[in-house]
């Protein structure tokens, strides 16, 4: 009787998560807890970091069966995933098939006002210049010699400061690095107010930072309606591989501006974006499993991704500010170079940083709306850059 009781308890214990947990699981669970702390207590991108960190936590609790990394090894059998996959495996299909990031872009489009960009189209150049961070980092990642061209392309897109774009491209080019790249992208987006100001101040003079820009002209409703249609046609014709991101971004914006589909616009901005954010965060977090960490060289790769992400971000900011200085010279001192840093995307955080730094130099300066032009141009620019990388490396 006593022996049967002991046997039953031993069997239960050996089948519990406690008996199967590895030290790598514990490391990742600790990292997940740190991320939860940062999101909840420090308020770092909580909307994304809470689901990402929780996904990471539950994927590393053994025997839960929520996510089975072995099902995603090449060659992938979607039939096996549908039959044997856990809840997170099924939700991860949206990442793997590139469905969630374009849907997030639909919501971003419905929330974005392209008015400042239409009023000052030249600010698109600043959005383009800031993408130099992406391509500069690609060279750096390749020079390290530990990444394949596809992995280097996925890492470099962190410089676009656009989480959904980074996830979309990485899921296509280097899905094995999805976890660290998504975490690095969103972490650096949250750290924009800390990373950017020193670079902006180092590259500009006080006189340049004090420039008060001319009031933007009002933009008519017709211009705002035509914008998403024209941009979709041009960009999709030039870079067809960027179509999912750009087309969805512009469809969302058309919902907002046309004024006849209020309900669709409202759904895209709120309910749809929130639902997709939960799915995306949870499944991306769940890709950071102990199996990945135990692969040889993964630790070095993860550290390199964090470092290269920071370089990509800094180079993008610097390139935007330097191009802003060029525009300052050519415009006869009418353009404040600080708005160039907003070209790295990270809407609207990067534009707020331009506003804050500009106002420290000149309290009467309001750069926010001027910086929104390059900021939203950065979203288009990073989507185009992702399309270019996909069409060359994919």
């Amino acid at each position: 009787m006593w022996q049967a009781f002991v046997n039953a308890i031993t069997k239960l214990a050996s089948e519990s998560g406690f008996a199967n947990i590895t030290y790598l699981n514990l490391v990742l669970i600790s990292i997940a807890l740190v991320f939860l702390y940062l999101a909840i207590v420090k308020n770092y991108e909580p909307l994304l970091l809470v689901p990402i960190a929780f996904g990471m936590l539950i994927a590393n609790l053994p025997l839960g069966g929520l996510m089975n990394p072995s099902l995603w090894d090449d060659p992938i059998s979607f039939e096996a995933i549908l039959h044997e996959g856990g809840l997170l495996d099924l939700l991860y299909l949206g990442v793997k098939l590139g469905i969630y990031p374009p849907l997030i872009f639909l919501g971003i489009g419905a929330m974005t006002d392209f008015g400042p960009l239409i009023a000052n189209p030249k600010s698109l150049l600043l959005g383009a210049a800031a993408q130099f961070g992406i391509f500069g980092t690609y060279i750096g990642a390749m020079a390290l010699g530990i990444f394949t061209p596809q992995q280097a392309g996925s890492i470099s897109i962190i410089g676009g400061a656009d989480g959904p774009t980074a996830i979309w491209l990485t899921s296509k080019l280097a899905p094995e690095l999805l976890g660290p790249i998504a975490l690095a992208a969103y972490s650096y987006m949250a750290l924009v107010p800390i990373i950017q100001p020193p670079i902006m101040k180092a590259l500009t003079t006080k006189k340049e930072r004090e420039v008060v820009m001319q009031q933007l002209r009002p933009v008519s409703k017709t211009e705002k309606i035509l914008f998403p249609i024209i941009v979709t046609i041009i960009v999709v014709l030039i870079i067809p591989s960027a179509a999912p991101l750009v087309a969805m971004l512009m469809l969302g914006n058309l919902f907002k501006e046309c004024g006849v589909v209020e309900r669709l616009s409202d759904t895209a901005q709120n309910a749809l974006t929130n639902i997709i954010t939960i799915f995306l965060g949870l499944t991306v977090g769940a890709t950071a499993s102990a199996d990945k960490l135990s692969q040889p060289g993964f630790g070095l790769q993860a550290l390199s991704i964090i470092l290269l992400g920071l370089i990509a971000f800094s180079v993008g900011t610097a390139a935007g500010v330097l191009f802003g200085k060029v525009m300052y010279k050519f415009s006869g001192g009418k353009i404040n170079p600080l708005i160039g840093s907003a070209g790295v995307s990270a809407v609207p955080m990067a534009a707020r940083v331009s506003q804050v730094v500009g106002q420290k130099a000149n309290p009467q300066n309001f750069l926010l709306m001027h910086a929104m032009g390059p900021n939203v141009a950065g979203v288009i620019g990073s989507a185009v850059a992702a399309g270019v990388l996909l069409s060359i490396l994919g």
């Binding site: 061209p149 002209r217 041009i234 804050v356 009467q364 850059a385």
Partner: protein, 124 residues
């Protein structure tokens, strides 16, 4: 390494080319929209001239790129500004014409601006 450099050059060029093309298209279509708006404004002006003195009328007299243009301002905003002017003048509004609305430069006392900045910064 050479391939990486090539990709970086091609990528940067394609991004710039795409965005420059968008700039050109924006310039073209905004010019067309401005031209159409000007034409419409002129016909409204003609109608307003014949109706002048009968009540409040609002019309723009300059092109869309001018700071004095009413284009781009919502009818609600124009109505509010017109009503505010009528209230300031202690008038019923009969016979009042707002021909243009211009944003004026900074002439607010510095302490007012500092207070307003602080308030705005606390909101963003």
């Amino acid at each position: 390494m050479k391939d990486a450099l090539n990709l970086a050059i091609i990528g940067t060029t394609v991004v710039f080319a795409s965005l420059v093309l968008i700039i050109i298209c924006i310039k073209i279509y905004t010019a067309i929209v401005a031209m159409i708006n000007n034409r419409n404004n002129k016909s409204i002006n003609k109608n307003n001239d014949s109706d002048s003195g009968k009540g409040i009328s609002v019309h723009s007299t300059t092109n869309v790129n001018s700071s004095s243009s009413l284009d781009g301002l919502s009818p609600e905003l124009i109505a509010v500004i017109t009503a505010a002017i009528a209230a300031c003048m202690d008038s019923s509004g009969a016979g009042l014409q707002v021909k243009s609305i211009k944003r004026i430069g900074h002439n607010t006392p510095i302490w007012n601006v500092a207070g307003r900045n602080e308030h705005i910064l606390s909101k963003i």
